[in-house]
């Protein structure tokens, strides 16, 4: 479905609005994923669909109903249901109403690439075949995926708002498997022609080979260099804290106050939908323009992200960060970008007398949300650094670490990369953390 067609559907849906203010969110998507293991494709899928969500506001009472049946009768019934639910909700004096109409906002360059939208199963299978070839050249087996998708959002409301966004996305995730070691590589992009299965397959294979016969290391406090895929996973667990809701309710470290230093002075974190590595949607899921928000500036907490409701509740500006989920989840910074440093990853390694190089993290969970303590595991390529050189593979370890404390003495590489964790599209460099606490080890 193209945006014209989606907007026609949105207008038709809006015409069934009965009372109060009504918002219509139309989402359509076509996604495909080719998944492989043991150098063969074992899951190969595609799906397409369109959904229409009504949000009806009756004097501070909100009801929401959604359907993917787009005939007139279904749309009319769904609009009615949203209005009925709104009538049953208690009055919420905070709710500011729906956003006003405004001029359309252009999508950032590179957000939509036709080649990605048209990528075929043969294209994905070809990239997978290049990965298999890299594995077979090293006597390994591959597991991973090649994905491509296109999606569009249209937001329309009874206050005259109408805007649309179309985007594409694609990615490769590859884990190469040796008898007693593994190696990982990934690449996410909006342009399918940027996906190089051979290069990524070779990077992962080299790591798998280099980490063979991994040796146990003593748990304890280590200097650790995280590659972007690993550090992005860690950063994802900081992002909730910048939600106005978490701040207000007291579960965020920012509940101790804004304009305070929480990390080292080299840490600057923004939410930026227009970053060239990850161009995204220029407005949020209720149609408010997304602002570029400075979350941490030289270590000092500068701002929260808000949506219409939380901006009104806290008396702050609406930064345009309403998330895709209806309900109480609150605003989210979905496009975090961590400012890079000036040294290459290789320089950071060369300047490390003794430490660990981590390719990827796994199963991170908060242990103490307010204090940003998380636990998790290393996986798929963990190495010992000695005398400025990567010398051998080591067995995986469990960490328990406050993210904020880790960021008090950190250094970042140049050359950031995009990674994906949950709904976050994260742009981050590699990070060298001076003191990172591991608490146990594994036998692999």
């Amino acid at each position: 479905m193209i945006s014209d067609e989606r907007e026609r559907l949105a207008r038709r849906a809006l015409s069934f609005a009965a009372a109060g203010e009504t918002e219509v969110l139309v989402h359509d998507e076509d996604r495909a994923l080719t998944r492989f293991t043991h150098n063969s494709i074992h899951q190969n899928l595609a799906s397409s669909g369109t959904s229409v969500r009504f949000r009806v506001v009756l004097e501070g009472r909100t009801g929401l109903a959604a359907t993917n049946l787009t005939d007139d009768a279904s749309l009319r019934a769904t609009a009615r249901r949203a209005a009925d639910l709104a009538a049953l909700a208690p009055h919420d004096p905070v709710f500011p109403g729906l956003p006003d109409g405004r001029p359309r906002i252009a999508a950032p360059a590179g957000a939509f690439v036709e080649a990605t939208a048209q990528a075929s199963p043969q294209t994905r299978a070809g990239i997978a075949a290049d990965i298999f070839a890299a594995a077979e050249a090293s006597g390994l087996w591959s597991a991973g995926f090649v994905t491509s998708s296109r999606g569009g959002i249209t937001v329309a409301n009874s206050r005259g708002l109408l805007d649309s966004f179309d985007g594409t996305d694609c990615g490769v995730n590859v884990k190469q498997n040796a008898p007693d070691s593994t190696g990982f590589a990934e690449h996410f992009d909006t342009n399918v022609s940027a996906l190089d299965g051979s290069r990524l397959g070779t990077i992962a294979a080299t790591k798998a080979r280099a980490s063979s016969d991994p040796q146990p290391m003593e748990p304890g406090v280590w200097t650790v260099i995280f590659e972007p895929a690993a550090f992005g996973e860690l950063l994802a667990y900081l992002m909730d804290h910048f939600s106005a809701r978490a701040y207000d309710e007291g579960s965020s470290f920012l509940s101790d106050g804004l304009d305070k230093a929480y990390t080292g002075t080299n840490v600057t974190l923004v939410d930026d939908y227009a970053n060239a590595h990850a161009p995204g949607m220029p407005f949020d899921f209720e149609g408010s323009p997304k602002q570029r928000v400075t979350l941490l500036e030289n270590g000092v907490a500068r701002s929260l992200v808000t949506d219409a409701y939380w901006a009104a509740k806290l008396g702050r500006e609406n930064t345009g960060h309403a998330g895709p989920y209806a309900g109480s989840r609150g605003p989210e910074p979905l496009n975090p970008v961590l400012a890079p440093g000036t040294k290459s990853l290789e320089q950071l390694i060369a300047e490390t007398e003794r430490g660990l190089l981590v390719s990827r993290l796994w199963y991170i969970r908060p242990v103490d949300q307010r204090r940003t303590i998380v636990t998790g595991m290393t996986r798929d390529g963990t190495f010992l650094i000695e005398g400025g050189k990567v010398t051998r593979g080591v067995r995986n370890m469990r960490f328990n670490q406050s993210i904020l404390e880790a960021l008090r003495a950190s250094e970042f590489s140049s050359g950031p990369a995009r990674t994906v964790s949950f709904n976050y599209s994260i742009v981050t460099p590699a990070a060298k953390i001076a003191a990172f606490r591991f608490t146990s080890t594994t036998d692999f």
Partner: protein
């Protein structure tokens, strides 16, 4: 109304798939409705009613599967989606060194419906909202509780399955759940409590499941406990005996047995994401997974089980089988393709999140059988230990061995008695050693079908609904108090 509303569309899609060269095909239609209410700090934060209808076509060609899904219910849509599934299967077959699949031959014609005592539709939405507002207010009554929430989820899914072998299966699944929670903040820290368990009580059934949770009788206590936790001493770091509440035992089964026993994971099909497993098919009947009192059954016919259905999403009939029997590894969670590699029949563990999702092995109902003594008797011969309830944090490595879990609340145990409250209780271990340290399980009176409504697996990630029925259990010599360095 007929149970088979999608029959004509399904037949058209199957015919098209065969005409395009599929050697087998099946079609799964789903019409899902999801009603959700969340009340937060005195206001209704979410009041939603969502419906989604569509279908997925699986096509088999030369040992490879293709899957395509759509919500386009026109003839052109059926044709295009079926053709797409075949094209994907053909593309996969061109680069497949291995052949993962064989065309199924089973045929079932049947219907199934979840037993429902109280149809949720008979409970007015206004009454549901009023109930939650009252529950949430009670949870917020303690002094330092800054946020309370209460919620209800009601799901109804009508499914139809058709295959080129002649299967025709219609099912209607009802699942319901509710929860209340409170967050207390003070002195720069936050403590949260939820009830029942960590995510609420989620089971298959209707409004009777919401009633069974008894939110109204427990909301105030939950708020008070969150408040008191702010003043409680930290759980010490030591090796000691641990008694886990039933919902935490459920999570322990889920993470350290359920995912470990998924045969697709063991075969490397999840290697790049969810990981593999420390288990090997050759260990079946040999590996001492746990102590002799540990028996874990797969039972997809379990009353109240969230994964209870008549047939799974590749059209196989629900069954019951051993995964761990008297402490020995006895079986795995399987699909047709994976079971075939062991020369076994499937035990019907295939599920898809919805119509747009490819069916794959999911955990389903995996239950620790109850023990022989009352819950209170677990404490009697514990000289020193910690009792923990309701999960707060969970992490396990990608082979399902090294785990660390945290609970919302703990209590000291001294000389067989429950003592003072402890905050931030955590424990860690290695899967087989931990299950072999289990020396007592409470009896059937405290055995509950704990449902997990949001288990993630697969790529694109799918959210599964599963149950691990369990009673409280005791484990000896466990490392507790991990994660904090002060």
């Amino acid at each position: 109304m007929s149970d088979y509303v999608f029959e004509a569309g399904a037949q058209r899609a199957l015919d098209t798939a065969v005409a395009r060269g599929a050697q087998y095909a099946d079609v799964r239609f789903e019409d899902g409705r999801s009603e959700s209410i969340e009340v937060r700090n005195g206001v209704v934060a979410a009041l939603t009613d969502e419906r989604s209808c569509g279908y997925g076509v699986r096509a088999f060609f030369d040992g490879a599967w293709g899957f395509a899904a759509s919500d386009d219910q026109s003839d052109a849509g059926f044709d295009a989606t079926a053709a797409r599934a075949v094209a994907i299967a053909r593309a996969g077959a061109t680069v497949a060194a291995l052949r993962f699949a064989e065309a199924p031959s089973e045929r079932y014609v049947d219907t199934y419906a979840t037993p429902v005592l109280i149809d949720p539709a008979t409970i007015p939405v206004g009454d549901r909202v009023a109930f939650l507002l009252e529950v949430e207010r009670a949870a917020r009554s303690a002094k330092r509780v800054t946020t309370a929430h209460a919620g209800i989820e009601l799901w109804r899914t009508a499914k139809e399955f058709y295959s080129t072998t002649g299967s025709r299966i219609a099912q209607t699944i009802y699942q319901s759940g509710s929860v209340v929670g409170a967050l207390a903040v003070g002195g720069g820290e936050a403590q949260d409590r939820t009830y029942p368990g960590d995510v609420g009580l989620f089971q298959s059934g209707g409004w009777e499941i919401v009633r069974a949770a008894r939110l109204d009788e427990n909301a105030e206590r939950i708020g008070e406990e969150a408040d008191r936790l702010l003043d409680a001493p930290q759980c010490p770091s030591e090796i000691t005996d641990v008694i886990l509440g039933g919902s935490q035992v459920s999570l322990q089964i889920h993470e350290s047995c359920g995912h470990a026993a998924e045969l697709d994971r063991i075969m490397g099909w999840e290697a790049n994401f969810s990981g593999t497993s420390f288990l090997d098919p050759a260990q079946r009947g040999k590996l001492r997974y746990g102590s002799p009192i540990v028996t874990i059954e797969l039972d997809n016919t379990l009353a109240l089980g969230l994964a209870t259905v008549g047939y799974d999403d590749e059209g196989a009939r629900s069954t019951r089988s051993d995964i761990v029997r008297d402490g020995l590894l006895s079986g795995f969670l399987m699909s047709r393709d994976t079971a075939r590699t062991l020369g076994l029949p499937t035990n019907a563990c295939v599920r898809a999140q919805g119509w747009r999702d490819v069916p794959m092995i999911r955990m389903c109902n995996l239950n620790l059988l109850p023990g022989d003594r009352p819950f209170e008797a677990l404490f009697e011969d514990v000289e020193r230990g910690v009792y923990m309830e309701s999960n707060r944090s969970w992490s396990i490595d990608d082979h399902r061995l090294n785990f660390q879990f945290g609970c919302q609340i703990g209590w000291e145990i001294r000389n067989g008695k429950v003592g003072r409250m402890l905050k931030n209780p955590t424990y860690a271990g290695v899967t087989p050693q931990f299950w072999n340290s289990c020396d007592a399980i409470a009896d059937a009176r405290s055995w509950t079908a704990w449902g997990t409504p949001s288990c993630g697996k697969g790529e694109p990630i799918q959210i599964g609904r599963t149950t691990q029925a369990a009673a409280p259990a005791r484990f000896r010599n466990v490392q507790v108090g991990v994660g904090y360095d002060d």
